[in-house]
């Protein structure tokens, strides 16, 4: 076949041109999808926050210094965000902690809501990669996430003894429990001690 010979110059040229074209195509795709991807992620997070602390209207992210303290309290589980939830008049209603304990199929992104006294007000799973039909029961069996409501964040190690797992999905269920325990520790060690300004009508 009359194919170009493998001389050094032609080889370099072929690879260079291919890479340049590919980079251009990828830049265009990235630019076109970037806005939507960020929007999707924000919307998913927003939905989760609302569902774990229904009394709050707006969520204000807490600053990075507190996030570092929270990470220390959480140990090996990564903490991705801390929020204070406020109602329509700006009064603080509670907190939300986003963390990623390990399930059966890798880290699961959870949001745990805690009211001002540190009682768990709700748990929501943003992303998970558990076995469909087995591990996914942590999301489809409604009673499972509801059992965490009311656990006391200030004595979470005691509260977490009252735990019903799911047979066939033990690793996923225990992973979620771990996330709630972490949120309790974050509350006890960090959030309980901070002064939350009453706020001037949600900013």
């Amino acid at each position: 076949m009359d194919r170009v010979a493998s001389t050094p110059a032609k080889m370099v040229l072929a690879v260079l041109v291919t890479c340049a074209v590919s980079a251009t195509a990828l830049t265009l795709t990235y630019e076109m999808t970037r806005g939507r991807i960020a929007e999707q992620q924000r919307a998913a997070e927003e939905r989760a926050l609302k569902s774990v602390l229904s009394s709050a209207e707006e969520f204000e992210a807490l600053d990075d210094g507190l996030l570092e303290d929270a990470q220390e309290a959480a140990g090996e589980v990564q903490v991705f965000g801390l929020w204070v939830g406020r109602d329509a008049t700006g009064g603080p209603q509670g907190f939300a902690v986003r963390c990623a304990p390990r399930g059966y199929g890798g880290p699961m992104q959870l949001v745990v809501g805690l009211d001002r006294d540190g009682k768990v007000s709700g748990v929501s799973i943003i992303t998970q990669n558990e076995t469909p039909g087995l591990g996914t029961k942590i999301m489809t069996d409604a009673w499972f996430l509801e059992q965490f409501v009311g656990w006391d964040g200030t004595s979470i190690d005691t509260a977490s003894k009252e735990f019903d797992s799911i047979s066939g999905a033990t690793k996923s269920a225990v992973g979620v429990r771990k996330g709630v325990i972490v949120a309790g520790h974050v509350y006890a060690d960090v959030l309980a001690g901070i002064e939350v300004p009453e706020g001037g009508g949600g900013q």
């Binding site: 194919r3 080889m11 291919t18 890479c19 990828l26 999808t33 469909p132």
Partner: protein, 220 residues
């Protein structure tokens, strides 16, 4: 045109990438737990497979032999990244389900294997038939596999949030079907069925397949 159809049909049946060549199995066994996810995985593979083969075939005269593999990889990886970003933006739930398996299409040996064995040596017209046929052959098998596993394992088929069919409510599926050993078992039965079908087809007269001057070998 008959040449085009012959090449296209080969990917579906006698050279089906999954049940005959048995390449690209890793992703197949992993994502075939849900019809929804398997369908979009299949579509992603059809797109990447066809687009990258046709592009490689179009530029085959300008790619020196010694650097062909790096060029193939760049082309394939670019199309996969395009699929990855687009799915992330428009189908977030399915993107989350497929997870790492979308970026891993880059190293699916089905696509690189066809680029090397077929696309680099044949004109774009025939290559488009090969890409579509192989892609479709992959998609059909992965969807059938996912259908059996989801239906038997979880007792229902849920597609885009709607329940399509369900077993009676007393049904409790064998959970193993959802796990990796179950994937191997179900896949084994599929291979057996496909082999029987291909035997029957081969008993009839088979015309020689155009574009196949090379011995393309087995799984790479």
């Amino acid at each position: 045109m008959s040449e085009w159809i012959a090449v296209f049909k080969r990917g579906l049946l006698i050279d089906n990438p999954l049940t005959v060549l048995m390449i690209g199995l890793c992703a197949t066994l992993a994502v075939s737990t849900k019809v929804e996810g398997a369908l979009f995985m299949g579509l992603a593979v059809i797109f990447v497979m066809t687009a990258s083969s046709v592009l490689i075939s179009t530029m085959r005269r300008f790619v020196p032999e010694l650097v062909r593999i790096p060029v193939f990889i760049v082309v394939i990886a670019s199309f996969v990244t395009i699929v990855d970003l687009t799915m992330h933006a428009f189908l977030p739930d399915i993107y989350t389900f497929l997870g790492v398996w979308i970026p891993l299409i880059v190293v699916n040996c089905l696509i690189l294997g066809r680029a090397e064995a077929f696309a680099y040596h044949n004109p774009p017209r025939l290559v488009s038939a090969d890409g579509l046929g192989m892609g479709l052959g992959f998609a059909v098998v992965i969807v059938v596999l996912a259908f059996i596993r989801e239906f038997v394992g979880s007792g229902e088929i849920v597609f885009m949030g709607t329940r399509l069919i369900a077993m009676p409510s007393w049904y409790r599926g064998p959970g193993v079907v959802m796990l990796f050993p179950g994937a191997f078992l179900v896949f084994g039965f599929l291979v057996a069925a496909m082999t029987a079908l291909n035997r029957r087809l081969a008993a009839r007269k088979v015309e020689p397949i155009p574009g196949c001057t090379l011995d393309e070998g087995g799984p790479s």
